[in-house]
């Protein structure tokens, strides 16, 4: 059987099927004013801004950037939303608290490993601090700590709002989060002492991974229960992303951890099927869900094209799962597999453009709102980073580009553009919005939010530019056979130092954020107007 022909035909059939599927789900596909997009607003609420992270003055300024609202929001609906928020407050708080803790661990571990790359004799006496381990601790603290805890915490908080019901089974989520984090602490400890399964993204031993499976299922259960108790007919776009991600991740993790099944090169293809899908089918959809909720919510305007988001979702679901093979371009794997992954990587441009266009059209004419809304600043910047990192990723998969960038720091910079520039920034924005609702208190020091934003934005810009440059110089030096290998190391050194400076600024920003989070959780700091500024209605709640 001619495999390329087989692949080509199955690809064409699948894409046709995909578009037929999308067509079958449409409801007024060309209707620019889809009712679905308005599900997140109560009647009379469109045109009304919502930004719990802004001060009273900021909120008024923010409202001034909008056209006047059309009327008073429906009081019953707002009351129901308060009840929804109350039902999710505790589990969301627990998950977000864990997330902030792991963010600090990951930042310190990441900064340490970054410094070690240009100071190789620094702290070499301790095995657990050696580059190979502390770098892995950094990755796992992000991949299984910060990112999923923040994303799931935000998902738990959004889900009852989106379904206009209460969160069912919140206790499961709290217990699940505790189990998951015990597992993660043990897993990180294992890596520190050198017990690990030996595959990138899958280092934490499978025996410990059982805790992730059980804990993760317990966090997911309330979301499923709540989905079944929904009081809305229409499932908003954020719900599609969250629902799918919650079912995707367990399959990925369990298949990857099946013992005594994977071997040699097949294990490598599985490794990158997992490694890329945990980004593409877990963190990405959960973060996109947050963008699709918070962006329109803050500016009080439904997303521009609801159908574009439908196309974006199903194309992502279809193409993203198969891109992982681009991590093995030029490797000892079947040629057809690499080709398939390159094709799907390029196809990813479709959902990315659909999303970006939608975000831009929704924001158009409202960019002044960025000045007044901390949530929006993080979320919009994060959304832009999604576009950049995805387009970059598509081109990075091409053989010609990959030949230069593969095996270099360029890939690391790209990974951070996705997981930091996109996922992390969006999560910061979401947390700034949600926390005042969760603890019924304002952020005590609004200036700290600005400090956080500028530290991480500038820090990350330095980080990304430095590391990308390092990777390109390294890649070109390595392809030049007339240069000794050590030349490819030497050229990166100043840029690796630049990366440490950027990383240090980001870490400072995270310290400011964590301190602010802690003060808020402990009800410290000045109170301006209490919970009252949240919404006129909240006074009675």
């Amino acid at each position: 059987m001619d495999i390329p022909l087989l692949l080509l035909s199955s690809f064409i059939i699948a894409v046709t099927g995909l578009f037929f599927f999308i067509w079958s789900l449409r409801r007024g596909l060309l209707d620019p004013d889809a009712a679905g997009a308005k599900v997140i607003f109560s009647p009379g609420e469109i045109g009304r801004v919502e930004e719990p992270a802004a001060t009273g003055v900021g909120q008024r300024e923010l409202q001034r950037t909008m056209t006047a609202s059309h009327g008073e929001p429906d009081a019953d609906e707002l009351q129901a939303r308060l009840a929804a928020d109350a039902s999710s407050a505790r589990p969301a708080f627990v998950l977000l608290g864990f997330a902030v803790f792991w963010l600090l661990v990951a930042s310190l571990a990441g900064l340490t490993s970054s410094i070690k790359l240009h100071e190789p004799d620094w702290l070499t006496q301790y095995a657990w601090l050696s580059f190979g381990r502390i770098r892995t601790i950094h990755l796992n603290a992000v991949a299984y700590g910060w990112a999923p805890m923040a994303a799931l915490g935000v998902a738990l908080w959004m889900m009852p709002r989106l379904l206009k019901t209460r969160l069912e089974g919140a206790r499961f989520a709290v217990c699940g989060a505790v189990l998951w984090n015990i597992g993660l602490a043990i897993g990180i400890g294992c890596i520190a002492v050198g017990i690990n399964d030996g595959m990138e993204w899958l280092e934490i031993p499978g025996q410990v991974g059982v805790l992730f499976a059980v804990g993760g299922a317990m966090i997911g259960l309330p979301l499923v229960f709540t989905l079944r108790r929904r009081k809305v007919e229409h499932l908003y776009v954020s719900v599609w992303y969250m629902g799918a991600a919650l079912f995707w991740f367990p399959v990925l993790y369990i298949v990857a951890k099946l013992p005594n099944l994977h071997f040699g090169v097949e294990q490598a293809t599985m490794n990158w099927w997992f490694g890329h899908n945990v980004l593409g089918l877990f963190y990405t959809p959960l973060s996109l869900a947050a963008v699709y909720y918070f962006l329109p919510k803050v500016i009080g305007r439904p997303i521009q094209s609801y159908n574009l988001s439908l196309i974006g979702f199903w194309c992502l679901a279809f193409f993203y799962g198969q891109v992982g093979g681009h991590h093995l371009v030029g490797g000892p794997v079947p040629e057809w597999l690499v080709t398939l992954s390159i094709v799907q990587s390029i196809m990813m441009i479709v959902p990315v453009v659909a999303f970006s266009l939608n975000q831009h059209l929704t924001m158009r004419g409202h960019f002044a709102a960025l000045k007044h809304s901390p949530t929006l600043r993080f979320v919009v910047l994060g959304g832009m980073m999604y576009t950049l990192s995805s387009i970059q990723g598509s081109f990075e998969a091409l053989r010609s580009v990959n030949t230069v960038t593969h095996f270099t720091h360029f890939t690391v910079a790209h990974a951070h553009l996705g997981l930091y520039g996109f996922v992390t920034l969006v999560m910061f924005g979401a947390i700034y919005f949600a926390m005042p609702r969760i603890v019924s208190r304002e952020w005590p020091y609004p200036k700290l939010i600005a400090v956080h934003f500028w530290l991480v934005a500038i820090g990350f810009a330095i980080y990304f530019v430095s590391l990308t440059t390092a990777g390109l110089l390294q890649g070109f030096a390595m392809l030049d056979a007339s240069k000794p290998f050590m030349e490819s190391v030497r050229v990166t050194l100043p840029w690796l130092e630049g990366r440490s400076i950027g990383g240090a600024l980001m870490t400072l920003g995270h310290l400011a954020f964590a301190a602010h989070f802690l003060l808020m959780a402990l009800a410290r700091g000045p109170r301006r107007s209490g919970a009252a500024i949240l919404r006129p209605l909240a006074r009675t709640a």
């Binding site: 070499t124 097949e266 040629e335």
Partner: protein
């Protein structure tokens, strides 16, 4: 979209397609791939050393997959011929790697066959490769005032040797070196199968 069953089943179908193409098909295609002739199973010491390689996270800076000369000059750097699936017959877990912060190691045993060089380089990479950014692994060694019977003393250039003592390799360091020396795929690969060859034009 109104139907959550349709949503979840659609999502699972797309994942099933991805899993079939990136996991199941490679599994079926490569399951019967024989080891490359000349490839020997790892000995027990080498396997322990391989575990040490994993414990220390060597894989995060060193790949084990030389590319085809048409793509990159890996062969000119002495990293070896492009590898094929059969070269990894005994590898569980795989250690193909994704970074070349340091050089490819699939043939390090052929390139640097001296155990003394390997041990000294692990103790202090900069003693052998000026400008190297590889971490030193002092915790894999012991500094003793004098070597005991059976101790593996590491020969070091004088300026890197500790004053008044000898550096002795622990069992872990010796295992790791045994594994590194076993990395030698200089025997020829079989004529690659039409669909299983590395990127060759």
């Amino acid at each position: 979209m109104e139907n959550h069953v349709k949503l979840i089943s659609g999502a699972m179908v797309t994942l099933a397609i991805a899993t079939a193409s990136l996991v199941v098909l490679p599994y079926l295609q490569l399951r019967h791939e024989p080891p490359t002739p000349g490839l020997k199973p790892y000995t027990e010491v080498q396997l322990r050393g391989r575990q040490e390689y994993i414990r220390q996270g060597c894989v995060y800076c060193h790949s084990q997959q030389p590319r085809d000369p048409s793509q990159a000059p890996d062969d000119k750097r002495g990293w070896g011929r492009p590898s094929v699936a059969g070269d990894y017959y005994y590898d569980r877990p795989h250690l193909l790697g994704t970074m070349r912060t340091g050089p490819d190691l699939l043939n390090i045993g052929a390139r640097q066959p001296s155990p003394d060089w390997q041990l000294g380089h692990l103790y202090q990479p900069r003693a052998y490769t000026p400008g190297s950014i590889m971490p030193a692994y002092p915790f894999l060694f012991e500094v003793k005032s004098e070597a005991g019977p059976g101790d593996k003393v590491v020969a070091l250039p004088p300026q890197f040797a500790p004053a008044g003592g000898v550096v002795v390799a622990t069992q872990e360091a010796q295992d790791l070196v045994a594994y590194l020396l076993s990395l030698d795929r200089t025997f020829p690969a079989l004529a690659p199968l039409a669909d299983a060859s590395p990127a060759s034009k």
